[in-house]
């Protein structure tokens, strides 16, 4: 018999206004290309600087959106631990992230709720910024265990409701 996996963050540990730990990351051309290939995005603006500059008019190759989604997921689950189950994410792209940029991810808890079927959710506003300039924002709704024995991942069908509650 294997040992149980204990949650590192419970729903009750979180309050509106809580700040997530800041993540700084120095983006290189390798970061951009790794991210594009890992997301099966073969478009040249994510690996060919000449194309990016001369066809797209950007200063360099830049992070693609699906890879940014992966960065947001990593950032959120670094905080929640493996029990955190993403329910919903909304991205708004405002600018590009290039090699040489240091991207900074910050997050703040905007809402904490337990839905009609007893699943605990938190809503986190995450910003990916470069030198203080927001490049992408993300609003994420993520489930956390409501007790050490709870596990959001076991929810199926009608017991899993990732949409936010009606206002």
């Amino acid at each position: 018999m294997t040992a149980p996996v204990v949650p590192s963050l419970l729903h009750g540990d979180v309050s509106v206004g809580d700040a997530l730990p800041i993540l700084d990351y120095e983006v290189t051309a390798t970061t951009v290309v790794l991210g594009a290939l890992a997301t099966r995005d073969w478009r040249p603006m994510h690996h060919d600087k000449d194309f990016a500059v001369n066809r797209n008019g950007t200063q360099d190759i830049f992070l693609n959106t699906p890879n940014q989604a992966a960065w947001f997921e990593r950032y959120l689950t670094d905080w929640t631990g493996p029990h955190g189950r993403l329910g919903r994410v909304t991205f708004r792209m405002k600018g590009s992230v290039f090699p040489g940029d240091t991207m900074t991810l910050t997050g703040a808890v905007e809402a904490v709720d337990v839905d009609a079927v007893g699943c605990g959710f938190v809503t986190v506003a995450v910003t990916l910024a470069v030198a203080g300039d927001a490049k992408t924002t993300c609003l994420a709704r993520i489930a956390l265990p409501t007790s050490p024995e709870d596990n959001p991942w076991v929810r199926r069908g009608n017991q899993w409701r990732p949409s936010p509650p009606a206002p």
Binding site: P4, L34, E73, P82
Partner: protein, 171 residues
């Protein structure tokens, strides 16, 4: 003419288009490549004991859901580069809008994606705006949903894109 084009496009609102089956089963190499690309050490994706305890076996990061449908850059017999989100490109062509950007992207996650799953998808146009002018140019906004299901028909995710197709305004 513009009204005709709009009516033509509006007839497709709510219609399921482009049903597709993933070109390959969900596999771990890509999951690890994705995690490595963002230095994601979540043990759910690296430690079988954790995956067994929490998700009854290994799963893929939810944010990877669209990865399983991006076509290979080349395939035998394929004459043209396959385009993901074909409805978006169809609208650009229909309205003769040479440029486009995605302004918003929402993904709602349902049943976890598991190793070996073969996912199915289809696209649904939800809405098209009238003519709009932004700092980019003049064009239209549209919302397209991409619905993902697994081989058992379980809903996996719904991804919603807001696109803006436009023509740069003359200086």
């Amino acid at each position: 003419m513009t009204a005709d084009l709009l009516n033509q496009a509006l007839e497709l609102v709510g219609v399921e288009q482009y049903p597709e089956v993933g070109e390959f089963p969900v596999e771990r190499g890509y999951i690890w490549s994705s995690c490595a690309s963002v230095e994601n050490g979540n043990p759910l994706f690296w430690d079988d004991h954790v995956a067994e305890a929490l998700t009854d076996g290994p799963i893929a990061p939810p944010s990877m859901v669209s990865v399983w449908f991006r076509p290979h850059n080349w395939a035998p017999g394929r004459a043209e580069v396959a385009l993901p989100l074909q409805v978006h490109f169809n609208l650009k062509a229909l309205f003769d809008l040479p440029e486009a950007v995605m302004t918003d992207n929402t993904i709602e996650f349902h049943e976890p994606v598991r190793i070996g799953d073969v996912l199915h998808t289809h696209q649904v146009l939800r809405s098209i705006s009238g003519d709009k002018t932004t700092k980019l140019g003049t064009g239209r906004f549209w919302v397209i949903d991409v619905i993902y299901a697994n081989q058992d028909g379980d809903l996996v995710a719904v991804e919603s894109y807001t696109g803006f197709g436009y023509r740069r305004d003359a200086a």
